[in-house]
Symmetry: C2
Subunit: 428 residues, 2 copies
Amino acid sequence: MKPLKELTKAELLVMKEELTQEYKDAQAKGLQLNMARGKPGVSQLELAMPMLDVINSSSDMHTMLGNDTRNYGDLDGIGECRRLMADMMSVQKDNVIVCGNSSLNIMYDTVSRSMVKGVNGSTPWCKLDKVKFLCPVPGYDRHFAITEYFGIEMIPVPLYEDGPDMDMVEQYVNNDDAVKGIWCVPKYSNPTGISYSDEVVKRFANLKPAAEDFRIYWDNAYCIHHLYEDKQDEILNILEECEKAGNPNMVYIFASTSKISFPGSGVSAIASSLENVKFIMSQMTIQTIGHDKINQLRHAHFFKNVDGLKEHMKKHAQLMRPKFEAVLDVLNEELAGLEIGTWIEPRGGYFISFDAMEGCAKEIVAKCKDAGVIMTGAGATYPYGKDPKDSNIRIAPSFPTPEEMHEAAKLFALCVKLVSVEKLLETM
Amino acid sequence: MKPLKELTKAELLVMKEELTQEYKDAQAKGLQLNMARGKPGVSQLELAMPMLDVINSSSDMHTMLGNDTRNYGDLDGIGECRRLMADMMSVQKDNVIVCGNSSLNIMYDTVSRSMVKGVNGSTPWCKLDKVKFLCPVPGYDRHFAITEYFGIEMIPVPLYEDGPDMDMVEQYVNNDDAVKGIWCVPKYSNPTGISYSDEVVKRFANLKPAAEDFRIYWDNAYCIHHLYEDKQDEILNILEECEKAGNPNMVYIFASTSKISFPGSGVSAIASSLENVKFIMSQMTIQTIGHDKINQLRHAHFFKNVDGLKEHMKKHAQLMRPKFEAVLDVLNEELAGLEIGTWIEPRGGYFISFDAMEGCAKEIVAKCKDAGVIMTGAGATYPYGKDPKDSNIRIAPSFPTPEEMHEAAKLFALCVKLVSVEKLLETM
């Protein structure tokens, strides 16, 4: 296909008319599809249903160490679940605290604690005039919501195919002591699906932060969330790399089983250096009487070990792949060669990120909505919801069926074309 | 029995020798008992085991409104569980947010949010020079730990048999705008077991706080935790009373099923005015992807309604009563009339509070420990762990068996007598 910008005004006008008619026909279909959030599909949830039978009224409710999971205790998580999460996160068990059902909540608590108590003894951030976080963009809206909530200034950093712009990261982190953190989704990034290269991870580990309380917020949300068995990304172990580089305390790693067992009823964990773990525990002992250890036991017994987790995720991949492929096939069929958008074909994670022509994202999302397909709000992948180019759109293919995804992607591609043609005509 | 202070020095010396020998004999028994924490006993935990079968792989996982509890959503809790907790807390469903497994965590979050974001728009407490909380004493050590952690100054207020010293509460709250809160366990208080009188609740509701962001932290932890069917305390509804008094936003009520279903695997809730609920939700939507709704469904299906909860608690009472009575019988047999200690016979809750002669509590707890009986640390029931009279000791009878409690109480009474005799001799 020919790039649209090479078309004449007359050709574009004809095209606009055809697309407008197609759009009206699409509207008439009365679609009702939601591609807004990274919600697992019902068939994925079904995979974990047998987990609900693993712990029942005749179960031995004790941990391997003999502690009763039904009573208070084991504030840092039961041993077998710490082992499971440690193996999933590729760290040692002693570096892991197993928490409640939401890794986002751990991230929130981590920032919140830093606000009022500082980091391992540093000045509480609420006592400082200015606190800044680096935000690779496009990124995860809920990360940005946390830092915005706490009044932390967010600085966008471009995210490339191998990770964030590390020159810029080094420039900020190594020179500005108001920069206290950076949000990272290092593997199958939300939303672009890229994974950090070894060089990027090493450059992270070798940062020389101006602020002693600078930390990398390493949200490894999709650590075993591959789409393919033969094409998988692997990233370097950031905790080990930080140790090697003499920065053992510089990273917090977060993960959960929200998209492995059940969103909202999984287990989450934070991994960090022993010194960081000790500081976190000194707060957690004030905060809670402990997390849900029966659910931890349920997870440990159901998955047994990290191989069990990985086997389970192969079943997820079988369900997710057709949905991703439905979108990618449509994008390739409908948009390849038109030069009105780019996208990456991810090997895992939950999203396909689409970059439209500048100034088109909001209008595309609006048009999709008016024809019954809800997308993530344009701009949501940027701090303060502001995409300076109004270009990035996050597609979340997990919840609908593959057939529905095909329908939704067709509509999306139609809207991209229509809005792009209109945009091109505007500038003529 | 004769008051010990009426004995002569010679009589006391004889008594000391006898008690010392008794204590040595007791030490030789090698007891190993723990009365430190309000931990439910194993037999109580067994009562809730059938709950683990209620939700299984063949269950309908949807709420009454049709939401899938296995996926994201229902941030404020599923409807049926909000109803259950609302009825337990004697408030309307719309006033309740069902949270995770720990009401302590909600209290921590409530204080933490006030530190960094203020209360419904007030100045964040971390920006103020001084923040104070009133702390009825003796009280719950974990409450005091939260306020101490956040650097909030704690002001002890005497707790009488009908509630806190309300003259003092009014004096502080109505005049000092640095006073932002008061910790209350209004029913079967931790540790004294008393319940607030109607007059006290009404005086609370009619406070005229100098600070707009003053709140009552109403930890109704033992709202349905009666020991008897025929002798039960009831307290006035603080939320209603606050509304009537024109102070609708002045109270946060906390509760959980930690001591109904499973400690650590129950559900917790906060109840407050609609305005407060809205403000809390505006933070919670940043903090978490939601709480464990499968566990909420499990609770709703198992207990069905508040009558189910109350029936369940009758079974708890049957198990708890003999333990409380074992302690009270021993205290009455061994110490009545000696005038070396006072205690209240609670009608519910988890504790028996004992006031020894001034300057004796630490030594009594130490002596118990040296003979194998672990008590809550003396002073723990006071802010900063400092009981100015070194007098109060919290007895937690729930975890051991009634027979063990009898043994432990005998040793405790022996230690009280021995330390008291030594104290009296010191002053002669």
